[in-house]
């Protein structure tokens, strides 16, 4: 009678860039200086947008907003690995993903300003709207990916969600099906340490979130989520694997939410200043800047010009946002059904 180990799993961890901006040459993904600049500019832009959105909310010019500060590398690195025609399924915090995917910033403000027309990605942009109920878009992403597989389309589907999302059944059901049917999907978990005030340790006893993928028969990998190169490297491998027909991957980006959960959260009630300070030292934008400086990709003038350019872009977006005429009451009748029912037509007349 044997008693033996029949299966064991190894959970990989990837870091390419350390806190001081040294990159491991062997692990460095293929990226031209031009591409690195593009990544950097996106991260700076997202940060500028994020800061501005927060201020607008405080000034009463925007509704509730979820800040992404600290998670820029996770969002940009993963979304950058996709190509046009691939689909993304973002969650509430993922403005960084949407900006990387070309979603007009004034529309993101419009959305956060309480006008959902802002989520209607212009034709040609394959961005699904933000899903607010946590993790419920994971099975939807799986289903869309599976449809692409059935239709033999060259499309990869990427869902973004937080650590908190891994507690819900949708995460498990969505990943389970994705594993069985080997769908072309990439699941990007931005583990920022908290689901509102609930710390990661109270969400699961598992040591990593990445390991959950193994239960569903596919690979999970943990990466340093503040390291743009690690995230990009893991994501582009996962995307290539999905494209080849080799099934899904779960990527756990270990990162940190520097600000509160949302503009209505006071994070000092559940975490220490010291903890936040420790994470500030690992800032993803600073880290990339250090690398670029060392490798002579970034000069002071270039940095200055990026700061100026991104600030202008954000100001322009705010201007455009505030010029958008408000929606009309009749609008909510328009898209309830593909064709309005008789009853809706009646109710519309009553307005």
């Amino acid at each position: 009678m044997p008693e033996e180990t029949i299966k064991s799993f190894n959970v990989g961890y990837l870091q390419v860039l350390d806190d001081e901006g040294h990159a491991d040459k062997d692990l460095m993904p293929e990226l031209s200086p031009g591409q690195i600049k593009e990544l950097y500019e996106l991260m700076v832009l997202i940060r500028a947008f994020d800061d501005k959105a927060f201020k607008l909310q405080r000034q009463g010019r925007l509704g509730t907003y979820l800040q992404v500060k600290g998670q820029e590398a996770s969002e940009v690195g993963a979304a950058y690995a996709l190509k046009k025609g691939d689909w993304i399924f973002p969650s509430g915090r993922d403005v960084g993903v949407l900006i990387t995917r070309g979603h007009p910033m004034h529309m993101l403000l419009q959305y956060r300003g309480g006008d959902e027309r802002g989520m209607k990605a212009p034709e040609g942009l394959d961005n699904f709207p933000i899903t607010i109920p946590v993790s419920t878009h994971i099975p939807i992403c799986t289903g869309a990916a599976w449809a692409s597989k059935m239709r033999r389309e060259d499309v990869v589907h990427m869902a973004f969600f937080g650590d908190g999302a891994t507690s819900r059944a949708d995460f498990h059901e969505g990943l389970n099906f994705a594993g069985i049917f080997k769908v072309p999907a990439v699941f990007v978990c931005e583990n920022n340490g908290y689901a509102i005030s609930l710390p990661r340790a109270r969400q699961t006893a598992a040591e990593t979130l990445a390991q959950k993928a193994f239960a569903y028969g596919f690979e999970g990998i943990q990466v340093d989520g503040n390291d743009i190169f690690a995230v990009y490297s893991a994501a582009s491998r996962a995307v290539a694997k999905a494209r080849k027909g080799d099934g899904p991957t779960l990527i756990e980006c270990v990162t940190y939410r520097i600000e509160g959960h949302s503009t209505s959260d006071d994070d000092s009630r559940y975490r220490t200043k010291q903890e936040v300070e420790e994470w500030r030292k690992k800032d993803p934008v600073d880290r990339l800047e250090k690398y670029m400086k060392k490798n002579k990709i970034l000069t002071d003038e270039y940095k200055q010009s990026v700061t100026q350019k991104t600030r202008d872009m954000v100001e322009k977006a705010v201007e455009d946002y505030e010029k958008v005429p408000p929606p009309e009451a009749a609008d909510f009748f328009a898209n309830t059904y593909a064709q309005p029912t008789e009853q809706l037509k009646e109710q519309m007349k009553e307005l």
Binding site: P129, I140, G143, A147, D170, T336
Partner: protein, 355 residues
């Protein structure tokens, strides 16, 4: 996707089809609709627990896996909500899924995806996408199906904007409404009644659709209007035969679709008869009958000669005991009793304690 719209306005709810006409059972009609939809449109597929097993969901999917392959007709892991989400994703990506549940009681497990997603994505995406998803589910009655395997939950879904809800009662409507649901750009909850699977009736071989939102007059009459939903259409026909012997002539309307609802058809009938009874398979409290009654009360009140009555199950969970079931489910007897009672009532007479 244009299917011919059949001109047949009404088919009798029960009894053999007219001489020389092609007859099929309700279950065969459903299967034929699925097969024809899949044959014509490669975007259509069928998923759900048991669709490719020997039982084939009461035979309604029999042979489809063999014919179309297990890529297009397949069993799923037991994960109702997740699978609903997956079907929504597939629908968003351009497929036309038919998701099958053996029992409507499993829909509460998928409530989040149906209510928060299927019904909302078109709206929230500014009309850029549709969710052409058909969810077939089966209600039952009898055999000790009890509290968790017998529920008629249609009212829950009728309440949700963005969803359509249909409840065909004849084989003819089963086929025509299933083809219509699959062709519809919106999510449709397609509710079947287990007692109808063996019913046979006229079913044309070619494809046709019954427009969703159009009811049908099953029997013309002048004394009272009975709006009878799903299996209750048969109970109403039975009641009509008996009432006829007493010289009472009821009009039976089968709405077929509960959302949208063909209220014009009901108003016109009430204007003629002046009396309204709604016979539903579900509960009374906030049930479909309440909505129909409210619409008639606001649009045709002046025509009513008697109070509106609802025939529905008592507002309790379904008992398991065979004896209690007989008490629990309304039947033609209840319809007969209520019609007779209404014929002796003025609009202001009080509602009796029991139906």
């Amino acid at each position: 996707m244009d299917l011919p719209v059949d001109k047949v306005e009404s088919t009798r709810a029960s009894g053999p089809a007219a001489e020389g006409k092609r007859t099929r059972t309700y279950r065969e009609a459903l299967r034929e609709a699925l097969a024809q939809a899949m044959e014509r449109d490669s975007r259509v597929f069928v998923a759900g627990q048991g669709v490719d097993d020997p039982g084939a969901v009461f035979g309604t999917t029999k042979g489809l896996a063999e014919r179309f392959g297990r890529q297009r007709v397949f069993d799923t892991p037991i994960a109702e909500n997740g699978i609903t989400g997956i079907m929504i994703g597939a629908a968003l990506a351009g497929m036309r899924p038919v998701l099958v549940h053996m029992r409507m009681d499993f829909l509460p497990m998928s409530m989040d995806q149906i209510v928060n997603h299927a019904a909302k994505w078109r709206f929230m995406f500014g009309g850029r996408v549709n969710v052409p998803l058909t969810i077939r589910c089966i209600i039952g009655r009898g055999w000790g199906a009890a509290a968790q395997h017998s529920q008629s939950l249609q009212a829950l879904f009728v309440h949700i904007p963005g969803l359509k809800v249909v409840m065909p009662s004849t084989p003819y409507d089963a086929k025509g409404l299933l083809l219509a649901s699959i062709a519809d750009e919106n999510p449709v909850i397609f509710v079947e009644h287990r007692w109808l699977f063996d019913q046979s009736g006229y079913v044309p071989e070619e494809e046709y659709v019954i427009p969703i939102g159009k009811g049908v007059i099953r029997r013309k009459g002048r004394d009272a209007t009975v709006v009878a939903i799903s299996h209750m259409a048969y109970e109403a026909c039975k009641a009509a035969e008996s009432l006829e012997k007493d010289g009472i002539d009821i009009e039976i309307i089968d709405p077929r679709s509960l959302s949208p609802l063909d209220d014009e058809l009901i108003f016109d009938s009430v204007k003629k008869t002046g009396r309204l009874i709604i016979a539903d398979t579900g509960w009374k409290n906030c049930g479909v009958g309440a909505e129909i009654a409210a619409r008639v009360a606001s649009d045709a009140l002046g025509y009513l000669k008697a109070p509106i009555r609802r025939i529905a199950t008592a507002d309790t969970p379904t008992p398991c005991s065979f004896e209690l079931e007989k008490e629990f489910y309304p039947s033609s007897e209840d319809i007969i009793f209520t019609v007779k009672e209404l014929l002796n009532k003025s609009p202001l007479s009080p509602q009796p304690y029991r139906r």
